[in-house]
């Protein structure tokens, strides 16, 4: 199928363009939306006029509240009693924490949101999926970092819930690719030795017996410290394993079980995974937390991490105020993370909660919310919000490696069997320490 924006060819069924990264097909661009919006505005004006006429003829007689204090500050309005609030549990990846926290506060101020209490539950994407399969009644919405784990969730769900589909509705909120984030000074030393930053050179560095002493004649830096999130809990960790597979075999699609069980690949994967920073005490369970930890602890704990582009963008300024400048590098084999928003179709979700879930989802697609997403480093799904403004992150941070047009090659999500084999291989690497 052809991308409506850059006109490059993409595979059928793809959600984002391989070249420019914009959504394909799920959104028809702004034109249809604008037309329909104009129709609504016309209707609204007509209705306002009708309401005005009604007031003129019927007055306030039937409305006791109208005879009371009519202060324009509207302090006579009272908040919705807690007992009538619709409570909505939203399990979401921490990469969206700042954006969603803003969205919940703003949504509560809207008429649609005033009767809804949203309980944001920051969780690793996979951790949340597993909680849903275990019938966690506190969750009515699932918004992982990507739809990568969706097929596994559906399969695990059906194993215990007959023939029901737990996902009522799927909406794509925003996209972000993967990036390596490294301290600039250490990045310069790294590429001087290895020429390029990718999974293969990371594998070499992580297994260098004398660490930075050999890499850059910096014995005080000790070992090369790389990490990603826990693949059994977090989408970005699982994506790391997938991308290692693609990088190792030099392909962008068709990663199969034969590849994952290949002994050379298994040996190479283990050699990296067992030496990840944090492997002994437990990898960080979510991507936002990993990026935060890098900023807090600096190069003492992480030389390099694999996170979402949005995480990096959000912390670039803060890094300079604590340790030093960062460098962002796109892996040559990459994947888009489409941040889907799933309204759950589960026994513990009432019709009111599903309507509330839908309302919040719509709010997240509003221009204001999409602009906020962009401010936090997410490439918006809405075509009404661009990424080329002078103050957009994709213009402001080009000096540290952020690019509007993402370089490299984008890979297809593998099938559930491949992902499960990757997780098994990873788990074996942890017990082999």
């Amino acid at each position: 199928m052809q991308c409506p924006h850059c006109h490059q060819e993409n595979q059928d069924g793809a959600q984002f363009c391989r070249v420019c990264g914009k959504p394909l097909g799920a959104f028809d661009g702004g034109a249809g939306l604008i037309k329909r919006a104009l129709v609504v505005i016309g209707l609204l004006l007509a209705l306002l006029a009708a309401a005005g006429l009604w007031f003129v003829f019927h007055g306030n007689a039937a409305n006791p509240a109208a005879s009371g204090n009519q202060s324009s500050s509207a302090q006579s309005t009272s908040p919705v009693p807690a007992s009538t609030l619709v409570k909505l549990g939203v399990a979401y990846g921490t990469e969206k924490e700042a954006w969603f926290t803003w969205a919940v506060q703003e949504f509560a101020k809207t008429p649609e949101g005033s009767g809804i209490h949203i309980d944001l539950k920051p969780m690793g994407s996979i951790e949340a999926a597993n909680a849903i399969v275990r019938n966690d009644a506190a969750i009515q919405v699932w918004s992982p970092a990507s739809s990568l784990y969706k097929t596994i969730l559906l399969r695990n769900w059906k194993a215990g819930h007959a023939d029901t589909d737990p996902l009522l509705k799927e909406t794509i909120l925003a996209s972000t690719p993967m990036v390596f984030v490294m301290w600039q000074e250490r990045y310069d030393a790294f590429v001087q030795h290895y020429q390029e930053l990718n999974f293969r050179t990371i594998g070499q560095a992580i297994n260098e017996p004398a660490g930075w002493k050999t890499i850059a004649e910096k014995p005080d830096w000790y070992f090369f410290k790389f990490s990603h999130t826990n693949p059994s809990q977090s989408n970005s960790g699982l994506t790391a394993l997938v991308l290692m597979g693609y990088d190792h075999f030099g392909k962008t699609s068709g990663l199969d079980a034969g590849d994952i069980t290949n002994p050379d690949f298994q040996t190479w994967l283990q050699s990296i995974e067992k030496n990840l920073q944090g492997a002994a005490s437990g990898l960080v369970p979510s991507t936002g937390t990993l990026m935060t930890s890098m900023i807090q602890r600096g190069w003492s704990t992480y030389d390099c991490v694999l996170v979402y582009e949005a995480n990096a963008i959000e912390r670039l300024d803060q890094a300079g105020g604590r340790w030093g400048p960062l460098r962002v590098v796109y892996p040559p084999y990459n994947m888009w993370n489409d941040n889907p928003y799933y309204v759950l179709n589960v026994a513990w979700s009432s019709p009111e909660q599903r309507r509330a879930a839908d309302a919040f989802g719509q709010f997240l697609l509003s221009p204001a919310a999409q602009r906020q997403a962009a401010a936090h480093g997410f490439r918006p799904a809405s075509q009404l919000v661009g990424t080329g403004d002078p103050d957009s992150p994709w213009v402001k941070y080009t000096a540290v490696g952020i690019q509007r047009q993402v370089p490299g090659t984008f890979c297809d999500p593998p099938n559930p069997e491949v992902m499960e084999n990757l997780l098994l291989a990873w788990q074996r690497s942890q017990s082999a320490k």
């Binding site: 209705l47 309005t77 009272s78 919705v80 101020k109 009767g115 005080d220 830096w221 070992f223 602890r297």
Partner: protein, 567 residues
């Protein structure tokens, strides 16, 4: 803005608006139950509720200054739950290990827990998971501070600081060197006197022994139980521990005493970076500097989370989260910086700078935090190889101890102390009243039961010849003086000395720390009840760089337990 006078037509209008929006977005919309159209209506508070929700924060005492500063402001702000109840926060500082045990046992029913480090969260959750649930939910950092070796600047310079990277191996080599500082051209500094807290009770102590184990194994990551089983690792640890002056439950205590008593008390101690910064707000004879061990250190990351126990109500969970958000807000984070902590959020700045003895670009690397099983195995290894103790336990059995059954509670406390000591430790039991009885020292590995029997069989009667008892205890310990062991006196009394043999000034002269041969016998005093002469007891403990306590039947058990952490 449409006011409530338009309520009826506006409901219809809003319903139609929803339908229109549904047409635009391509989905259905339900009814909007709200009768409000004021966009500010949800931010207006419900009517004031006279009830309050109490939240107890149990936290590592390292951050007490900051917590004590910001908590009253929170309480004064009358922060509320969504249902209008006012939140009130009370706080209890405690050593990290002690707080973990207090929560696991249910002795302290806190809403929030913030130990000094995620290590204790790991341990606590692992121990709690045996019963099916974690101790604490997901955590976030409040503030961070790396563990450092705090050393007097001239001594650090003698080791090559700041030009040379110094590590655990350098300090350990100095500790093992029989010539001490003389080997570095500074005979006037004497031997290395080193201190770290008790690893079962305090985070910095735990990190110290992990660092010793790593150094002994020649590693900075991948510490295993196999490594700990190697004889040379245990021996390495034993060699380091010989330089320890005493342990203790609180890093804060070490920090304060280091600053107060200067180089004659300790050459260096394992503390947190923020304590080095804090020292610059007080007068010291020489400045302290932070050494960031070149092999790596571990961050003290002060996680905070909501306790997962039935005693925490939903309202308390909500209130707890509000308080956590408050502590992590920019204003409070900036305040934490002023107390020397690296804030969890925001930039760094003064006083995190060279002028305060620290380096914000450090540490360069960390020691890998091992698994809970390896941490536990390291603690067990330390127990075998720690510096053992000879304790003289002086126990007042004068007639006044019969009042309010003080003697009954005091016996329990003394037995608790004995039970916390190691089999290799010895106790010389010295009950006194008009007569002072100095019993033979008992090695606890073989004679503990007999000792406990003696304690239980005491009968209160007679006067209080306190000073004579202390003098005799000191003489007894000096006769068995061994620099490879900690020697200390623990004295409990409920009154004042009324003997004629020894005056206070004579006793103080004899108790003064002897620096040259490092024969320091510390005297820990417990003034029990209202009649104890606390001033005298304080002078005695201060003269020996120990600690005084004010005890009563309710707290005597925890007093003895705290004293036990010094050995």
């Amino acid at each position: 803005m449409i006011g409530r006078i338009f309520a009826r037509p506006v409901v219809s209008l809003m319903a139609l608006l929803m339908l229109c929006l549904a047409f635009v977005a391509g989905c259905d919309k339900g009814n909007n139950n709200s009768s409000q159209t004021n966009s500010n209506s949800n931010s207006s508070a419900p009517p004031a509720n006279p009830n309050a929700v109490e939240v107890l924060l149990l936290y590592g005492s390292e951050k007490q200054s900051w917590i004590d500063d910001v908590t009253p402001t929170f309480n004064a702000s009358n922060a509320k739950l969504a249902n209008g109840k006012v939140i009130h926060v009370s706080t209890t500082p405690m050593g990290s290990g002690e707080s973990k045990d207090a929560l696991l046992s249910g002795h302290t029913q806190a809403t929030l827990w913030s130990p000094a480090s995620g290590v204790f969260v790991q341990l606590g959750n692992a121990q709690s998971q045996i019963k099916g649930q974690p101790l604490i939910g997901p955590t976030k950092e409040l503030v961070l501070s790396p563990v450092v070796i705090a050393m007097w600047k001239p001594m650090a310079q003698a080791l090559g600081w700041p030009g040379k990277a110094i590590g655990w191996a350098d300090v350990i080599a100095l500790a093992k060197n029989p010539d001490g500082w003389a080997a570095y051209g500074h005979k006037e500094f004497g031997r290395l006197k080193f201190g770290h807290t008790h690893p079962e009770f305090s985070n910095s102590g735990l990190i110290s022994i992990l660092a010793e184990a790593y150094a002994g194994a020649g590693k900075v990551r991948g510490l295993t139980t196999d490594d700990l089983a190697k004889p040379e690792v245990g021996q390495y640890m034993a060699d380091v521990e010989q330089s320890i002056v005493h342990y203790g439950s609180s890093t804060g205590f070490f920090g304060k005493r280091l600053i107060q008593d200067g180089p004659q008390y300790l050459s260096a101690a394992v503390l947190y970076e923020n304590m080095v910064i804090e020292s610059y707000s007080q007068q010291t004879s020489v400045p302290l500097v932070a050494i960031y061990p070149k092999e790596g250190t571990i961050w003290s990351d002060h996680p905070i989370g909501i306790v997962q126990r039935p005693w925490v109500s939903d309202e308390q969970k909500e209130a707890g989260q509000i308080f956590i958000d408050y502590l992590r807000a920019p204003a409070q984070q900036q305040k934490a910086l002023q107390y020397g902590f690296r804030p969890a959020e925001g930039s760094l700045g003064a006083p995190l700078d060279a002028a305060h003895g620290v380096d914000p670009a450090q540490p360069q690397t960390v020691l890998e935090l091992p698994s809970a099983a390896v941490i536990d195995a390291t603690i067990q290894l330390w127990k075998k190889n720690k510096k053992h103790s000879d304790i003289a336990l002086i126990f007042d059995k004068s007639g006044s101890m019969n009042d309010d059954n003080k003697i009954g509670s005091a016996k329990k406390g003394a037995i608790a102390l004995v039970n916390m000591l190691a089999p290799e430790d010895s106790v010389t039991f010295i009950p006194f009243s008009t007569e002072v009885t100095v019993m033979d020292p008992v090695v606890l590995g073989t004679g503990k039961e007999e000792l406990i029997n003696h304690i239980n069989m005491m009968v209160a009667d007679g006067n209080t010849h306190l000073f004579q008892a202390i003098k005799l205890a000191k003489d007894k310990l000096m006769a068995r003086r061994d620099p490879k062991r900690i020697q200390a006196i623990v004295v409990l009394t409920d009154g004042e000395d009324n003997g004629n043999d020894v005056s206070l000034s004579q006793l103080l002269d004899q108790l003064q720390v002897i620096e040259e041969d490092d024969a320091s016998i510390r005297v820990f005093t417990i003034g029990y009840g209202n009649s104890a002469k606390l001033d005298d007891l304080k002078r005695i403990s201060k003269a020996t760089q120990a600690q005084e306590y004010q005890g009563n039947p309710d707290n005597i058990l925890s007093v003895f337990r705290d004293i036990a952490t010094f050995f």
